[in-house]
Symmetry: C2
Amino acid sequence: MTAIQQYRVNLDDRSYDIHIEQGCLNQIGKALTDLFGQANRCLIISNDVVAPLYIETVQQSLEAAGWTVSKHIVPDGEKFKTIATWSDILDSLMDNKLARNEPIVALGGGVVGDMAGFAASAYRRGIPFVQVPTTVLAQVDSSVGGKTAVSHPHGKNMIGAFYQPRLVWIDPDVLQTLAPNQLRAGLAEVIKYGAIWDAEFFAYVREHSKQLHELDIEVISRVIIESCRYKAEIVMKDETEQGARALLNLGHTFGHAIESMTHYTEYLHGEAVAIGMRMAARLSEQLGYAPKGTEEAMVQALKALELPVDVPQFTAEQWLDVMGHDKKNVGSLIRYILLRDIGDAFIAEDVKDEDIQTLIQSFA
Amino acid sequence: MTAIQQYRVNLDDRSYDIHIEQGCLNQIGKALTDLFGQANRCLIISNDVVAPLYIETVQQSLEAAGWTVSKHIVPDGEKFKTIATWSDILDSLMDNKLARNEPIVALGGGVVGDMAGFAASAYRRGIPFVQVPTTVLAQVDSSVGGKTAVSHPHGKNMIGAFYQPRLVWIDPDVLQTLAPNQLRAGLAEVIKYGAIWDAEFFAYVREHSKQLHELDIEVISRVIIESCRYKAEIVMKDETEQGARALLNLGHTFGHAIESMTHYTEYLHGEAVAIGMRMAARLSEQLGYAPKGTEEAMVQALKALELPVDVPQFTAEQWLDVMGHDKKNVGSLIRYILLRDIGDAFIAEDVKDEDIQTLIQSFA
């Protein structure tokens, strides 16, 4: 299955295509011209790991289609996802005097896409941007849906905008150069879709872990397409996360806390989410929502994908504090995504701090 | 005319009321509770000039209605409208752990409203905010319409978002403490509405300049209401400035250049806009769009309002450079708002750099 796959995200005047095609990276120039009517200027934003591998291909494709290309390279890594790095991108946009109709091309993983998207949303109160995701995580999740952000020292992705890209351009071939831990981390978001909505897809991913790690093109393409479809469908239902979109946060409340408490140095985002999904599964059993064995099924799948499942040791107070617990409030206002079963997630508003204490102690 | 005036800005799920009432400042608490269903926490953002005068009234009103109030005070002035000041506001929001449904109350002039609004748009990708404007400029213009921003060293308001407030709460009484130059500067935006759409309103404002400077409550209330109505109507037609809303930039292309070239130290925004409107009027005559006398009518009105009309001396190259001229482009892409007559503005896409050179030289 190496044919072109295209999926439309329908959001009124913010609609756009997700295009998935092996080897399509060097077609981005024509794609942009098709989209914007005529070639003009654009700014590629990438990082210092991805740029040496792929920026020349993208630049040549754009220039061959008549585009005038500027480039801005940010340092690689979650710890540079800051207002300062974002502010540097804005300086580049100002220096290049990009006009309101001239696009940003985000070439990289989730951090690049989120920061480039937030810069696109803010520069002149909004210019177009195009996602060219180069990691599994970005291809199956973060490039679709318009959640853009930078992090704050006290919380991940706390500063940003809902701002949709004008195109998502996915070439699975670029995953060949992805570090194995990055590949694994991305698969956590894939198994998440199965855990939320589709026990069959959950089983498929688990059973094809070997092919996924070997980047079998047929399997990885199917997984990207299915994941994009799930992501697009929930975004179309609930663009700004007033309701159902919150399901995508399965494993993320705990996962963000893990990332924050370990200062973004020990776990990749997907690794933290993997541990967080295990915790959500146990909490679901603990509160009587999910049958016994739900956590075990989650653990087995995560292990098959070579993802971590051991919960790092912090006190319940530390967990609650970083998850947004506020002593001024009566009771807990933290929203957790729990499971009724693998393939059936829901939003729980009534989890008590005591329940979290019990959960944390059970992992001690 | 001291009765309550309310005007609805209809923008689908982003609709809101503009409420104009003498003495309404101490009713803000009840207004917020009516709007949000129940009192919770909020953050008042103000500056070090306005806060000593009015923050206690606002805080007491909110607390009497059951709100838990935090405060964040920014330094007064256009030169603090920066990413750094905005980032400090985000730190306050993080420190106070405001939840996604807890509002910001922006108490101040245009700078406070624009920065508070942009912070509200970005914190958790958007929390509610309420405008409580305390200057003429903010009451007649910037508090309505959802243009939020900070400035970049190389361009005013270049970084921001289209993000609508949930309420605009206007008390004309607070203008009593406004510095006379701030009052005058705000009237530039009032006369602008007349120049764009309504020659009668233009004449009314000019003829009532004495009452406006004396803050005659009947005249100032009428002027605020009419201005808000013009602003709201154009925002409803063109929320994100794809077209007609650009008319509101009459005098602003030149005005922003003046502010930038004088480093925001010599002219208040409205004063720069006044000079900019005079320049736009002369350019309109020069290009044969407007009849002779248009500039003179503009100059007379601005002088009646005690606004400056003398164009500061810079070279045409300096003007063009700061207005976004880019040597890489063939011809000019700068969009000017011109007049066919007082009360009849239009968007001109075809003004040449040479026309600007001629204009600048005519003022030498």
